[in-house]
């Protein structure tokens, strides 16, 4: 569920395609052509119609989620698509009666650590794949693609036994510790290599060469020249990883049993699993609070996501 796949080979990566737009006909500044209502509908209006239907399809569950979280009764029976009441009961109940703050903190810790490690290690590897030529390079890239196709869940038992053994020697990173869980999740450290490599490839080698003529080492080229240039893309990758990790449920439910170690995913699942019908409101409130930061980040990075993500990830 946490797999976030690299982009395909040969992907062209555009940053919201300023080029395509400039060359495209009618982009922003193109001369306006007056057209009749009929023609307008045939060429443009129907697009709005489809767009509105698409938005309705995309948002109706979200609307229901918001509505359920504001429904003071908080059960399935009385929840509706459009909010009928406005009550924060579910939110206060969640914060007062459940260790929601602990779940939130745990999730943030896990996400921050995994996002950082995965971005950093992926960027390092992508630099090697983009800038050096070495034996096994193509094979390595293809192997990465294949290995990432398998969910870690398939090896869940082996991971469980492994971390039981590790915990016997180093309890701090054993089973049922956040550190152990984070370490396990870092197995996907190379998840973003394909995507980031695609962007590195689009940065001309002449930049590196110029810097090296000035006496920069390869480390300096990487940190001072290449990385700053791809910052927006790193942000997008980070966001993709973040969404994957915060929603990771299966391995977390195997690894983190202690109440104090639960993440948002396992905590909220426990809530709704205990009473699917009557805990809906509280669950919805928790979901909203989980989703809001992610949604805000998405909206903030929208510009880069839509243009640049021809690559992207497979989300679970």
């Amino acid at each position: 569920m946490t797999q976030v796949q690299g982009p395909p080979p040969g992907t062209t990566l555009v940053e919201d395609a300023p080029v395509a737009k400039a060359s495209g006909r009618g982009g922003g500044k193109a001369p306006k052509v007056k057209m009749g209502a009929k023609r307008w509908f045939r060429e443009v209006g129907w697009r709005h119609l489809v767009g509105v239907i698409a938005v309705a399809w995309a948002l109706f569950p979200v609307s229901y989620l918001v509505s359920a979280s504001l429904n003071p009764l908080g059960n399935v029976v009385t929840s509706t698509l459009i909010p009928q009441a406005f009550s924060l009961d579910n939110y206060t109940q969640l914060l007062d009666e459940q260790p929601f703050g602990t779940w939130y903190r745990n999730s943030i810790i896990v996400c921050a650590a995994v996002v950082f490690v995965q971005l950093f290690f992926s960027a390092l590897a992508a630099f090697a794949f983009s800038r050096f030529r070495f034996t096994g390079r193509r094979g390595g890239l293809l192997a990465l693609l294949l290995i990432q196709m398998f969910p870690q869940f398939l090896a869940a038992v082996a991971l469980y036994l492994m971390f039981t053994d590790i915990g016997a020697v180093i309890p701090a990173i054993g089973l049922d510790t956040l550190a152990g869980y984070i370490l396990m999740m870092c197995g996907g450290s190379l998840g973003q290599v394909w995507l980031i490599k695609g962007f590195f490839d689009s940065i001309p080698m002449s930049l590196d060469e110029a810097a090296m003529l000035d006496g920069a080492s390869h480390v300096q080229v990487f940190f001072r020249i290449i990385l700053p240039l791809v910052r927006p893309i790193l942000a997008v990758c980070g966001l993709l990883v973040f969404v994957g990790v915060i929603g990771e449920f299966l391995m977390a439910s195997i690894f983190l049993r202690d109440e104090g170690n639960k993440t948002l995913a396992t905590g909220l699942y426990g809530l709704i699993d205990a009473d699917r019908s009557n805990n809906l409101g509280v669950f919805a409130a928790g979901s909203i609070m989980t989703a809001i930061p992610v949604v805000l980040l998405f909206l903030y990075l929208q510009r880069f996501i839509v243009g640049g993500i021809t690559a992207g990830g497979v989300k679970g």
Binding site: S23, A30, V193, R276, G308
Partner: protein, 535 residues
Amino acid sequence: MADPIDPTDPSHRGSRIARRPGRDDVPAILVKVLLLGIVIGTAIALTPALVAEESWLFLTVLWAVTLILVATYATGRALPAKYLVPGTLMLALFVVFPIALTAKTSFTNYGDGTRNDKQTTVEQIVGSSVTRADDSPQYNLTIATDGDPASGPFTYFLVPQDDPETVFEGTEDGLQEDPGGVTLDSGRVTAVDGYTVLDIKQISAASDALDEIAIPTDSDTFIVRDGTSEAFEGAPTLVYDEDADTITDEASGTVYTAQQQGDREYFVDEGGQRLSDQSWTANVGTDNFKRIFTDSRISSSFFGIFVWTVVFATLSVVGTFLLGLVFAITLNDPRVRGQKIYRALLILPYAIPGFISLLLWSSFYNQDFGLINDITGLNINWFGGSFTAKVAVLLTNLWMGFPYMFLVSTGALQAIPEDLTEAARIDGANGFAGFRRITFPLLLVTVAPLLVATFAFNFNNFGAIFLLTGGGPFSPDNPTAGGTDILISYTYRLAFGAGGVQIGFAAAVSVVLFVVTGVIAALQFRATRSLEDVN
């Protein structure tokens, strides 16, 4: 540091630019030395504990990792490795190694009742026959654990009743005199550093596990617990003969031999009666794999579930791709105002963590109060019938997956040069023909690998099935195979469901899934030729 561009590398040979090797800053070198120091220091610090635990595998891996890191970063050679090693190590340790371990386990019968090796099992069986003699030494017992009070591992802290100043630490490995960090209070251990002392409640909760503990002493006797606070030392009535591989009951004279029953061995007497239900981990060759394909309980459902798995993955990919593509094409016209708003709203489902979407949607299908019946005016018991449940699963997956395909298609559309479609139009291709002949093939080249990856993801999309339907609905005549079960959810239920945990078998299933997924993905990559120009 070395020259970053290898002069013998063909891709750079003949470059016109003269190169001077760049040098690291002093702080960079300091950081490097510091990090390597930490790595080596950690390895050295952990070694004694690992030797004590006899975790040789762990020790080997630890030092291998340390050596790789030192070899990579302390020398100026193998430049690409410096960038590849961190992520590759993580991948090797926490993805590849567990896969290898899974493959190894798939050839054993490891699971409930066979978790120990044979030697430990024999010791436990023999230990459980320990009986008290009149002169048996008695101990005051304190049960503690450095793990979980419910599952152990448990350690006995023993004080001989005739020598209340001496303390022994007893584990399944034997006795150790005078462990450190012990608080002794009137002939009884009351606290131990780093351990949790179990209270009476915890002891009774863990009594099954504790009953199996028999601590071997140096004189062929064992110490077993006697209630919650005392223990005694005694001789077993059962004796194991290593050469003959038999256990003899010295009281009755019965001889028990190891015999195969099902996928495991037990000690049984001549009449086939088991001495104990405990068995041990053994290699069973390819039995687990044979079972997947020959066990009638499994194979009767296997084909149908395999077909549904393929259908589920295919329809999920095709459905989300088509929907996403239609939306992308529709909105990818510069004359459409508010493009950005549309896009922002359409990717919202993607921003909601997957488990939330799945649990939310599972509530939508409630027959009486669910949103779907509410909106459509239908009265369908969605999860009641296998067909409607399948539709429900696909519909949910469609909602969850289309924003991603929308993003991908939008990006790919924008990357197609405008003049190509322009040229097609001038040549007289109308809108749809131009799309079909020019745009779509170009688009497919870009997105094909993503479609393959999405297929592979859905093929093993345990979460979607588990959180939505749990694999159901189940029919009375086949209670193990649910109507929406895909291979991974079905076999994991078999492996972990009723009849005890069968880890060896589950591992075999995982291996089969690895192979099937890999083969399908490889075939698809080949068919789409999408990896040919990787460079």
